[in-house]
Symmetry: none
Subunit: 210 residues, 4 copies
Amino acid sequence: MTVHSAADRGPRVTDKRERILLAAERIFARHGFFAAKVSDVAKEAGVADGTIYLYFKNKDDLLISLFERRMADVNARLRAAIEGKAPADQLRAFIRTYLQLVHDEPAAAEVLTVELRQSSKFMKEYANPEFADFLRTLGGILTAAGLDRHVPAHASARMIFGMLDEIALAWVLAKAPLGGGTRPKKFDIVRAADWVIKLVETGLQAKETT
Amino acid sequence: MTVHSAADRGPRVTDKRERILLAAERIFARHGFFAAKVSDVAKEAGVADGTIYLYFKNKDDLLISLFERRMADVNARLRAAIEGKAPADQLRAFIRTYLQLVHDEPAAAEVLTVELRQSSKFMKEYANPEFADFLRTLGGILTAAGLDRHVPAHASARMIFGMLDEIALAWVLAKAPLGGGTRPKKFDIVRAADWVIKLVETGLQAKETT
Amino acid sequence: MTVHSAADRGPRVTDKRERILLAAERIFARHGFFAAKVSDVAKEAGVADGTIYLYFKNKDDLLISLFERRMADVNARLRAAIEGKAPADQLRAFIRTYLQLVHDEPAAAEVLTVELRQSSKFMKEYANPEFADFLRTLGGILTAAGLDRHVPAHASARMIFGMLDEIALAWVLAKAPLGGGTRPKKFDIVRAADWVIKLVETGLQAKETT
Amino acid sequence: MTVHSAADRGPRVTDKRERILLAAERIFARHGFFAAKVSDVAKEAGVADGTIYLYFKNKDDLLISLFERRMADVNARLRAAIEGKAPADQLRAFIRTYLQLVHDEPAAAEVLTVELRQSSKFMKEYANPEFADFLRTLGGILTAAGLDRHVPAHASARMIFGMLDEIALAWVLAKAPLGGGTRPKKFDIVRAADWVIKLVETGLQAKETT
DNA sequence: GATGAATGAGGCTTCATTCAT
DNA sequence: GATGAATGAAGCCTCATTCAT
């Protein structure tokens, strides 16, 4: 992931920035952004507290950078997944890939899903270009597939993101089956993609054929 | 709102609790839960800081109580809106009423939409019975309307909530047209209900008739 | 001192503000402004750290307030000392009273003399009206006494303040005779007034009578 | 300035030490000693942060060295200025040269005038031999000129330094006329020497001849 | 019940100093 | 000698909560 950026400014530098970012992701996912302490991120990254401030302006910047880094990653993977496919297949690939990513990177998903919202308090001042990109890509697929007859593509894109996000949230919040809490069991988020696809393509209509 | 609830338990007491809750809603919506100060809530409610602790255990309890209070309200309104309708109409009424509520109570919507997420860090320890109720009602409608053939009703319910929530978020974050920021203009959230209905009922399929 | 201000806003409030201010004076005098810790001031004042911020905006404000408070006091005493005197006597009273004040309130003198300078970094942004008052009073005396023939009164006022300030500094920095350091013994600062008076009135001229 | 001193000990080494010292002077003058960052001094000097510690023990040492270096310079110039003059002329030369130096080297003056005070917190532990030399020279002149009849020479020396220092401070703090702040305009510090001389020699006495 | 002054624990951040290269 | 990335101690300040009135 972001292998190329490792060459941006010498190998060590990016390495450490990356380590801090991943540590922040784990810590933010574990405790939530506000409850998380910068010193915990440092500990998790194996660096001194002050080192974080060599790479990030402040705690907020850590969160914003995390978003940008992850969303860019998500967008890159989604683009790779839909490349060369027919429009109708692109939509399915987009949905499946997104949920697969959530499945593969739960910490990232938690931050993107849960903390992103909270940081919408941030977002009010900070326009997230990568997220706009995400919606634009999805909207483009819908238009290309001719799925914008009845509902504007940008609106559909938002609604689809809403579905995916809510599914991701439910999955993320469901504790692992082992920790015998009161939490619902983890469902199969990858198979849930079919539900989204079904809903988006033909709706929940009772009678498919009359 | 909920003027009648002022009679729930004693006349003045509930009044003050209510005032604090509404003040908290405005403050949390304005600053976000974590950034909001208890003393600001007190000021907004016109009571002393200490008074809040006569009605609520702590700041977290204020947020939780707010959720329960609002979700109960939302559920009550939704139940009233679908009462006596045919299943297919119930779904439309549910969707329209929900978005209408968001439109009428933006502060409540902001807290429910934005802060609820963030407090899912809370939610991990705290199961929200009113939200479960919300999903159960929606799922029940889907089942009654026979819209659970291809997708389990509980899954559809979540996805529909996801759509509604995302639309609410987009609307809430869109600044009022007056404050000429860089924010997108407020769209008509009430009319957006039709898009949700269309998507849920028949999907985005390109060719409605072949 | 400033007995009247005790009635400004209830008795307790001013009392505590006063206590903090005097504690800050002692701590700043002991360690210097920058090296002094807010928590030490709190400890010295017998209040919690946070209490300081109920009365002062921040650490800088503590210093500024100290200046204003002390200089106002100094000005009041000086005015009382010169009241009703003939111009020539006023000058002598002014000088004697100032050095007497330094003698009586060494902590205040240290802050005014030593920290005031350093805070001239502050002063660059903050115009001290009380100090301006001090100079104006002194200049007025010189003019009234007809001592502005050869040198503008405002310039003389500054030079006289320079002498007084330097004497105060030398006296303040001289350790008490007990602490057998390498520091010069404390001289009699009150008697030093005569030197200032002599210098200002007739200069150091070798031959008084020819 | 002090180009000759570059040959004191090795050619390049002293050069770098010198550069750091002059950089520190500018930075300390600009921000004040405490607010100044070692890394800013390094940047100004065009060396790495760590390099500073090859030439100075620590930040304090940087300030102390600056004093010694500058005061030695000042003393050297003053001695050169009074050399070979008659005692009465020596005093005038001393005063004029000092203020001329302030005029020519404002950054140096700011550090000597403003930061020296603040570092009297340092001074309590550190006896400044060069400053003692300064006072001894001035006292010697007074004694030689027979101006120690009524006031001890060492006391007069201190008072004269106080006048000079205060004038320097007022001049240093007066913003340049260009930066249209609320600051008083720069006065002519060189001409101010005449006021000091007048005051020291014959006082402010109203009637010069009786 | 109501008040709001007081508390004090704790986090973010800075920055002098070090040391491996 | 020179570098500058890394360190980590330490302080200012905030703010949820308490409790005497």
